[in-house]
């Protein structure tokens, strides 16, 4: 009887998980082995053809590379800035609550709203960056219209948006650090930098791992801004994997190929998560 009761309690969550997570994932995997069907040409089993097409697809490789740069560019920066901001607002300073809130605000805003704001920041001549630059005599830049600038430009915006979110986790972790450590370090005469390097930073490692996993997932998951800022352009220079999947699925209606791309993305994320947990686990001090 107890058994039944337990299962009953699990059922609502299980139904949702199976219905909206596990079943779609498996269905996607199955779909990736079939061609896209239309009324005229029904879908048929094609084996690994979709995967072969993927290897030959230059746009896939380009967005894959873009996504790698995007991850490399945003994750370490966002984490470092988050940590510095957390250390800073953890000190006693005037209007501390206000500063904390200011840092957190970008996180609260919806990405679509943020992208619309930054679209105007980046607009040549009338945008904020160009107007500030003009004060110092800098020439106007076509931030989003230049294939070399567009990806870094979107990265800056994402770091700005993400850092405040990660700061909150660091702030919570910092407030859990026992104050005795700081007092002991003071008595021993440790410098602030030494204290950070040997005490604070290692103690923050569990938080860093958590943030790192989240930041990595986000760097593959966050594509809302592309709809507003660039639509992946110019010439795919700012397109990311998930945005490409959206285009293939809903603009080209090629569901088979979109499923294939999705499987690749899922496998990639799973691998990254496993590697992160295995490698960093060793250097994380849980207590």
């Amino acid at each position: 009887m107890k058994h039944v009761y337990g299962w009953l309690l699990l059922t609502p969550a299980a139904i949702l998980l199976i219905g909206f997570t596990h079943y779609p994932a498996i269905a996607t995997l199955v779909d990736s082995f079939f061609s896209t069907g239309t009324v005229v040409r029904p879908s048929r089993f094609v084996g690994f053809d979709n995967y072969a097409a993927l290897l030959d697809d230059p746009i896939f490789w380009q967005v894959f590379g873009n996504n790698a740069w995007f991850a490399l560019g945003t994750i370490p920066t966002a984490i470092a800035i988050a940590m510095v901001m957390a250390l800073w607002v953890n000190e006693k300073l005037p209007a501390r609550a206000l500063v904390r809130m200011a840092y957190f605000t970008p996180t609260v805003l919806p990405m679509i709203a943020v992208a619309n704001l930054w679209l105007f920041f980046y607009t040549p001549q009338i945008g904020m960056f160009d107007q500030v630059g003009a004060l110092f005599g800098a020439p106007s830049h076509n931030w989003l219209g230049d294939p070399n600038l567009v990806l870094p430009a979107t990265m800056v915006m994402v770091v700005w948006k993400e850092a405040g979110f990660f700061m909150i986790f660091y702030l919570a972790a910092l407030q859990n650090l026992p104050p005795e450590l700081q007092e002991a370090a003071k008595i021993e005469g440790a410098s602030r930098w030494y204290f950070f390097r040997r005490v604070t930073f290692p103690l923050l490692m569990p938080t860093t791992l958590f943030v790192l996993v989240n930041a990595t997932i986000n760097s593959f998951k966050l594509v809302d801004h592309l709809f507003i800022l660039t639509k992946g352009g110019p010439d795919n220079a700012s397109s990311l994997l998930l945005y490409y999947i959206y285009q293939v699925a809903f603009s080209f209606f090629d569901t088979g190929y979109a499923a294939t791309l999705t499987v690749v993305l899922l496998v990639l994320l799973a691998l990254l998560a496993v590697v992160q947990f295995l490698l960093i686990e060793k250097r994380v001090h849980y207590r």
Partner: protein, 424 residues
């Protein structure tokens, strides 16, 4: 369990009840929820219901064109009745391939109905016609026009009432209109043509002006690699690189209107859909003109058409036909054009007193109509999403200097040939 069956019965009754008394007409309309246009559409629906008791119109607002298409197709797959939808005019081949729409010729059978099918501007019917049958009835349609800042023209010593008539003039005038500060940085550009989002659409105008259309009428052949098409892209690229009258790289569609109303560019090519917004925000007198000519004038049409879906009862088809005829009647077309800036879809709308009066006070509103004479249908083929993206990428690769126009367009043509081979 009694309460459950009672509940289910009441739900069923609620769902079936009104339908037996009235014909339900669900139609999908692409717009973000709550915009001012929903009020206009809701108003039309209520007015139509008053004049046609027995038909109940349920507009479903469904995001942008892509969202509306996805939702309408999903509803059809789920077996829901969705007799009618306004969808992108260029979705035609996709909808035919999915075999979900019926030709209006098959429904509009009386002489009166047949006359109605011929009442629209021929230019607007091109995107809705396949193998001589009409599948799309034009509703919210636009085209590209040239906006120019009359103050800037005066300042540059040009006649403020004479816009460029051809490509050479546009370059000459634009070079005079470019303004630089002491450090040599440009503070005002001569002309801007947007190249994000709808690059293929803008490019169709250049190509048409240079004498070429980009696809055939059956939607299975593209014409990207023709020398005159390559020359058209070269001209667009040269505006930035050689003549230095337009910023290099791509120009953002979404912020171009502000760049124009802030005076950062003296001319812009943009959709007529922006007319009302420019009129409301520009602090200087501005003019609207047809796009300049190279070998001829030219601009593609764009926008949304009414489609009728196959999975419909005879009553629904009758109701849908009545509704679409009512929605596209001359008075409504005139009213809709004034409310939105979209082009009125038929000549007799421009002879209605209210639109005549409006055009007398705001002549910019009829430029788009006059340009219909030179219009070409919007790029639409089978596999249209992919084909369009090939062209978009080629244009952007050229404008950002990564490829030459010939290389980019030849590659796009080769890819399009691959995609369309099986449709020939």
């Amino acid at each position: 369990m009694k309460w459950l069956s009672a509940f289910l019965m009441s739900v069923l009754l609620a769902a079936v009840g009104p339908a037996s008394a009235q014909t339900q007409l669900t139609f999908y309309y692409p717009i973000a929820v709550g915009g001012p246009l929903t009020k206009v559409i809701d108003g039309y629906a209520r007015q139509f219901e008053q004049e046609h008791p027995g038909i109940k119109v349920n507009p479903i607002y469904a995001g942008n064109y892509d969202d509306a298409r996805i939702k309408a197709l999903a509803a059809l797959k789920a077996g829901q009745s969705a007799p009618l939808s306004v969808l992108y005019s260029i979705d035609l081949y996709e909808l035919i391939e999915q075999d979900v729409i019926v030709a209006w010729d098959d429904v509009a059978t009386t002489p009166d109905d047949k006359a109605w099918l011929k009442a629209f501007y021929p230019a607007l019917m091109m995107n809705g016609t396949y193998k001589n049958k009409v599948y799309g009835i034009p509703f919210q349609r636009s085209t590209i026009v040239l906006y120019w800042n009359k103050d800037a023209f005066k300042e540059a010593g040009l006649d403020p009432d004479r816009p460029p008539a051809n490509w050479t003039e546009m370059v000459q005038m634009a070079s005079k209109l470019v303004k630089r500060d002491a450090a040599g940085n440009v503070t005002r550009w001569g002309v801007m043509v947007p190249s994000t989002g709808y690059a293929y659409w803008m490019f169709q105008a250049f190509a048409r002006q240079n004498g070429q259309d980009l696809m055939n009428r059956d939607g299975n052949q593209t014409n990207f690699a023709h020398p005159d098409v390559i020359a058209a892209l070269q001209y667009w690229r040269d505006l930035g690189v050689k003549h230095k009258v337009m910023p290099e790289g791509t120009v953002e569609w979404g912020t171009l209107r502000q760049a124009f109303t802030e005076g950062k560019t003296a001319m812009m090519w943009h959709t007529t859909g922006n007319l009302t917004a420019v009129k409301d925000t520009a602090k200087f007198p501005f003019g609207v003109a047809m796009l300049p000519a190279s070998k001829q004038r030219g601009s593609p049409t764009g926008g949304g058409n009414f489609y009728m879906f196959k999975k419909t009862t005879p009553e629904e088809r009758k109701a849908a036909l009545a509704f679409v005829k009512w929605m596209t009647a001359p008075e409504r077309a005139a009213d809709w054009s004034m409310a939105t800036g979209y082009v009125a879809t038929r000549p007799d709308a421009y002879t209605t007193p209210k639109l005549k009066e409006y055009a007398a006070g705001f002549p910019q509103a009829v430029v788009a109509r006059d340009q219909f004479e030179f219009a070409t249908p919007e790029l639409s083929t089978f596999q249209t999403g992919r084909v369009r993206k090939q062209l978009d990428d080629a244009i952007q690769a050229t404008l950002t200097g990564q490829k030459s126009p010939a290389d980019a367009l030849n590659a796009a043509q080769a890819e399009a040939d691959k995609l369309l081979k099986s449709y020939r």
